[in-house]
């Protein structure tokens, strides 16, 4: 079994697949542009001084979270509906290696969001696109996507145990935007939100991108993205095994 090839082919397939879905185009391009526009208008009209690049990056990350949440949260259920879940489990590679490319693909699709919000901001709101540390930015981007993609693995492997996974996805979009400080400084939020934000990859992902773009040291945040990715991978591995065992025991693999 060639693991890198399996991951690469799976990722490429799912990126192509998701790109053809009007729902994901809406989630990853149109929705972020609309939310970014609202945010640009709010910060332009507000009294706070600062660069709109801060807002553009945050709005882009909002899109990455949305596509990860909706894509990964319902990933296994979607495989069930399509009738391919049994095959995904029956093939020789472990289920983890089949699902990971999918969840990382859902986060990768979110890169459309970042591109769209930056371009939209530059075109209509004079958002400066000068990146202070371009190389660090180029490293921070895949690190953030990896972090979110593997957080997606945790979502995929746990949401499947809940019958209405899409209701959970609907519920979790705004709170994670809020507690990970995508458009709001975390210092404004109650103190108990802090620890919650530390275990969520979008917090470190957006900080890494902002540090790299607006001057600063993004490397500790990039390191945290990678560390959290490893933790998510371990949690996702055990959660998937648990799901697989339950599904086999109860014969619920094919129940849509």
């Amino acid at each position: 079994m060639n693991v890198p090839r399996l991951l690469w082919v799976g990722w490429r397939f799912y990126v192509k697949n998701l790109t053809l879905s009007s729902f994901y185009i809406l989630t990853s391009v149109l929705q972020p542009i609309i939310f970014a526009s609202v945010a640009y208008f709010m910060f332009e009209a507000g009294a706070r001084e600062g660069t709109l690049l801060y807002v553009a990056l945050g709005a882009g990350m909002m899109g990455i979270w949305s596509s990860t949440l909706f894509g990964s949260g319902g990933a296994i259920q979607w495989q069930r509906w399509q009738g391919v879940l049994e095959y995904s489990i029956a093939v020789p590679p472990p289920l983890l290696l089949v699902i990971v490319p999918l969840t990382i693909a859902t986060a990768s699709i979110g890169l459309y969001s970042l591109t769209a919000t930056l371009f939209w901001g530059w075109l209509f709101f004079d958002v400066p696109l000068d990146v202070a540390h371009p190389i660090a930015f180029l490293v921070a981007l895949p690190a953030a996507v990896l972090g979110l993609g593997l957080l997606g693995l945790v979502l995929a492997s746990t949401f499947v145990l809940y019958r209405n996974a899409n209701a959970l996805s609907n519920l979790l979009e705004f709170p994670v935007w809020l507690v990970t400080g995508l458009l709001v400084s975390l210092s404004l939020l109650p103190g108990w939100v802090g620890p919650l934000s530390w275990v969520l990859a979008p917090t470190w992902g957006i900080n890494a991108l902002r540090e790299a773009a607006i001057a600063g040291n993004p490397w500790p945040e990039i390191g945290m993205c990678l560390l959290l990715s490893a933790v998510y991978l371990v949690i996702g591995h055990f959660a998937l095994r648990h799901f697989e065992r339950l599904a086999r025991e109860r014969a619920t693999l094919a129940i849509a």
Binding site: I34, V38, E44, A47, N164, A167, E173, P175, L178, V184
Partner: protein, 262 residues
Amino acid sequence: MNQDLRVFFIGGYLSYKALFNWMHPSHYIPTMLGAPVFQVLFFVYVGRFAELQDDTFFVTGNAVQLTAMAGVYGMAMTIGGERWTQTLSPLMASPANRLPLFLGRSLPLIVNGIITSAFAFFVSWLLLDFELSRSQLPALAVVVAASAFACTSLGLVVGAIGLRGRDVFFIANLVVFSLLLFCGVNVPLDTLPNWMEAVGRALPLTHGIEAAREIAAGATLGDVSSLVWTELAIGVAYATVAYALFRFFEIEGRRRATLETI
């Protein structure tokens, strides 16, 4: 007449029970109560961070905007759901009067929108810097009801397009997000470009939100009556357009045999 009333009330109720996918508590609570509250909290905090307006501005804007969620998504679900469950053709073949048939489907969604909005106001009152006296509640309820009606009328237009377009949920999502941008929900309307303000004035919600903000600031229902009437008139206009579209797409759907395409 009795038949039409039956189609309006019983048909609307059964359609809501059968096709509104979010009805089960495990779906209804996170989607129709939980997520809306987080929307309000999110924009209140963004507003605080941007130093734009006080909490009341964002609470009223978003809580009234939430009526669109039930109205627009709900109508998309009821029409899209008929297509998905392959019941659209039998429905179109029935002799029922089309006006009560489709308007009846909107009534439960208006009620739903009011509940969602009321819950968001209540939680905001509990958690945020938002005050509302008991005497303001009846006027605010009238404004929310008018906005829910106008949004559901817009939802009827989306639903009518669902007779022709196959991906009605894409349109519904786009419409709900666009309302956030154009209707002065989180940005004062006069700070938007002129063309966006003009578009916003022709959409549901804009006048309702303006009225709600004035009531929250101490105005009476009489003070905002022109805004409320305008909101209702916009609702009637969209309902009329929706009805015309229903009839047109129904005839087109029969002619092209596209009612059952998924």
